[in-house]
Symmetry: C2
Subunit: 224 residues, 2 copies
DNA sequence: GCGAATGGATAGTGGCGATCACCACCCGCC
DNA sequence: GGCGGGTGGTGATCGCCACTATCCATTCGC
């Protein structure tokens, strides 16, 4: 596909077109990322020549991973990259930043504050029942309040304990994931792991859903 | 908030401004949705007058739910609404359509087909191990293959059985959700349920993650 | 009767993620 | 030595999307 090139060789440095070929990202887009400071500049060898290395390739791949698979905006990508670059962050803090960058930042729709408060109460109960210490201003809490409010507006009663299985499952998976990455992972790897696990589980969930729907409904598949 | 109005009364019909007030959606946007055929036209009473009813309000809320909470494009919203309107679909088929509308339709990045095949093999093993019957062309499978390929490119080995806990958890939750909605739900309710469950669990997962990270790292929270 | 609201239609906005165009320059190769 | 294509840097431009804005003849409601 990339007609050979030095992909498996010891190419410690390359020009932009080479970087483009190895990453699959078009040259103008790489230039754009450079301009946006998502990608650090290469080391200049002349007025209009610069050399890029493996680190640029890795970062380029990471950007495409975050934006493509993780569906982050470039602004969020920038934040995550900044977190990676500031080496003073533990892998765990880093993971949390990524996790939060993954959740949609809805601009707080003007929902009636009445139902909102009731939902907030429910959410708080869920959180305390779970034994979690989540701060009140956490973006996760905000989002969940909105969702619960919507559920209740729909007539789905959120009895206490309703979310128990979800909470338990989430807890188990979280512990597992954290254990997995406790070992010596560097910044980018932690980030990529978090994103990919998140997305992978969402897909698996959908697969399970589809399968069990198929089980219940013993019919031909609708084929879209 | 909506200065009283007939929100709790028996308003079977209303004008566009009333619809706007009760839904919180600005009039121009409602007009836009009407133009885009996301919202059916009201019953005309004169050349430039039409009456809207509760069904319009519900649909409007559903549109905002799908687009806002579910983060669907209006194109996907349109598909889902069409599925609701074609009454020949079982709740299960409907749920599946929604579930698929929720997953991102990435335009298949030009990844090397080599790693792709290897990942496809892994994914197939995961699926068969889980005992699921997912068709090879299912969009879920496609997406998962891409994610697994990315994971492997990152050096995260996907041994067989690695995803076991995920698969089991997903299965349990799926069964639970399907059970919940087996009873007499109408189209819109099924759709809203699927979307809200999906989003809610994603948030709960993130909460669990944050909590357990906090447990491991007994430090002050970074506060973004 | 008259101001405000309505429907219908066309045009415009703002943000985002690239992509194009241009240009001086530099490298490799004949 | 020269020439053709690649290179960096920059500003402009594009396409898409989800809305908004503007206008106008009509019509409602008081």
């Amino acid at each position: 596909m990339w007609h050979g090139s030095t992909d498996s060789g010891v190419a410690v440095s390359m020009k932009i077109s080479h970087l483009s070929r190895r990453s699959g990202v078009p040259v103008p887009t790489i230039k754009f990322y450079l301009r946006e400071q998502l990608l650090p500049p290469g080391v200049p060898t002349a007025r209009n020549q610069a050399e890029y290395d493996e680190s640029h390739l890795h970062r380029l791949r990471l950007i495409r991973l975050l934006a493509g698979v993780g569906m982050m905006s470039l602004a969020s990508v920038r934040e995550v990259l900044a977190a990676i670059d500031s080496r003073c962050l533990s892998p765990h803090h880093l993971a949390q930043i990524v996790s939060r960058a993954l959740l949609p930042e809805q601009p707080a729709p003007p929902t009636g504050a009445e139902a909102e408060d009731l939902a907030a109460e429910q959410v708080d109960r869920i959180i305390t029942d779970a034994g979690w210490c989540i701060r009140g201003e956490a973006p996760e809490r905000e989002s969940l309040v909105r969702v619960v409010a919507a559920l209740e507006a729909l007539g789905v009663p959120i009895r206490s304990g309703w979310f128990q299985p979800y909470v338990e499952a989430a807890g188990r998976l979280a512990v597992r994931e954290i254990d997995q990455q406790l070992s010596g992972d560097n910044g980018p790897t932690v980030v990529a792991r978090v994103v990919l696990f998140e997305v992978a589980f969402a897909i698996i969930r959908r697969m399970a859903y589809t399968h069990h729907l198929g089980m219940r409904t013993a019919m031909d598949t609708p084929e879209r």
